[in-house]
């Protein structure tokens, strides 16, 4: 297994020399997935809280659908977004297909169900504990939902991480709607897929190592934040 050790040393070199092409790919990956996570949080957190606290017909069905959508295949999301954004599609006039914007849209759609479903579970558990007290104090459903989101904020960090992890690690959706254009829509996962098929294993592996390191670092940070918050705020 010489390839592997060779690849690792090339990978180390790329990281150590801060190769600009390599950095651009990492940066685009982070930008697209962080943007998608931010947008999905704005949609998914209130949606999850509303389903947890609200009492409306179809609530159970919505919960089941959301849970099922967590397993949405990225290529399917990519295909649907592709059809929507393509020249002939309903949103074709915006001309965003094969741009980072299209990639953000696809990843957002992919992770909204994850963020909504997981936050619903967390807020729902908190609601079981709080609802009599909040009702007693006269909180409206809307106010109760916002209060619960704020009170479970440290647990919700983990939810956002799950969404971000899914977004930055997926390859199918960004490949289809981004087109893997060198220097423009090429991200870590699409580069890894491409370089592997071309046989340039060192670059592929270097990006793989960076990808795993980023995800690991963010999870370690979130874990530390949660533990600190638990000790500090209970």
């Amino acid at each position: 297994m010489n390839t592997f050790t060779d690849s690792l040393s090339v990978a180390a070199g790329l990281v150590a020399h801060l190769d600009p092409r390599f950095l651009a790919i990492v940066e685009l990956s982070l930008r697209v997935s962080l943007a998608a996570t931010a947008i999905a949080a704005v949609i998914g957190l209130p949606l999850g809280a509303a389903i947890a606290v609200g009492r409306f017909p179809g609530r159970q069905a919505l919960t089941i659908v959301l849970n099922a959508l967590m397993g949405l295949p990225p290529v399917v999301v990519g295909l649907v977004v592709y059809l929507l954004l393509s020249r002939a599609g309903p949103l074709g006039s915006f001309g965003v297909l094969f741009t980072p914007t299209a990639m953000v849209i696809a990843q957002t759609i992919l992770i909204v169900p994850i963020i909504a479903a997981l936050s619903r579970q967390i807020v729902s558990d908190a609601w079981a504990e709080y609802h009599e007290q909040l009702q007693s104090l006269g909180a409206s459903t809307m106010r109760a939902a916002l209060t619960l989101l704020w009170d479970t904020r440290y647990s919700l960090i983990t939810v956002l991480l799950a969404g971000f992890g899914r977004a930055i690690a997926e390859v199918g959706a960004v490949m289809i709607v981004g087109g893997n254009i060198d220097g423009f829509t090429r991200v870590m996962t699409t580069t890894i897929a491409l370089e592997t098929s071309k046989g340039d294993l060192p670059l592929a592996l270097a990006l793989g190592v960076v990808l795993v390191t980023i995800v690991l670092t963010m999870n370690a940070g979130a874990h530390a934040t949660r533990e600190w918050a638990r000790a500090r705020f209970g």
Binding site: E129, Y130, E132, Q133, Q135, S136, L137, G138, A139, R143, T147, W150, D151, T152, R153, R232, F233, G234
Partner: protein, 222 residues
Amino acid sequence: MGVRRGTTRLLADVTTTINAGSRTVIVGANGAGKSTLLRVLHGLVVPTSGTITWGGRAQLPLRQAMVFQRPVMLRRSAAANIRYALDLAGIHGAEADARIREALAEVGLLPLADRPARVLSGGEQQRVALARAWALVPEVLFLDEPTASLDPAATRAVEQIIRDIHARGTAIVMATHSLAQARRLADDILFLHDGRLAERALSSSFFSQPATALAQAFLEGE
């Protein structure tokens, strides 16, 4: 008034009066309906039959509060927990600040005002819950076994706060399974048995000469 959930009867034919400014203690065995009665009175549970009127009006009194067996503290400071309740009651600004200080001082927790409420001890949390109720200056305060999970010292502190709140003119309606506590705090006793109001009496006569055989058996069982 009665409450059913599905086919289970939780309360049946409860007819009684709570006197303004008095201390009413609800006693009875586990599952007798004490908690349900409190929740119906407080408006958390809607009775399936019958009505409740306050001073002849059909609507609930404007100012009422409830303290639960396990205090529910929001993940913020003790003072902010009280501020949250005041905010929902429409009390803001300097008036809120003054009430928060007064309420925390009253329960002896002013030094802990800025501590995160959830890291306080169980007894301290219950005192914050009482301070939260105190700050609302309720006409009626409902308490559901407020000392059930507290040690004797914390229990004494909570009972003293309840006396202080009552002394300020708030009617107290409390459920407890401790007859000793009922003896210490009650003006009026409501004795529930199996979802029915078995006896209503002045505290003095209930403990010395219970009028019903059920109450007698309950007192002897203790």
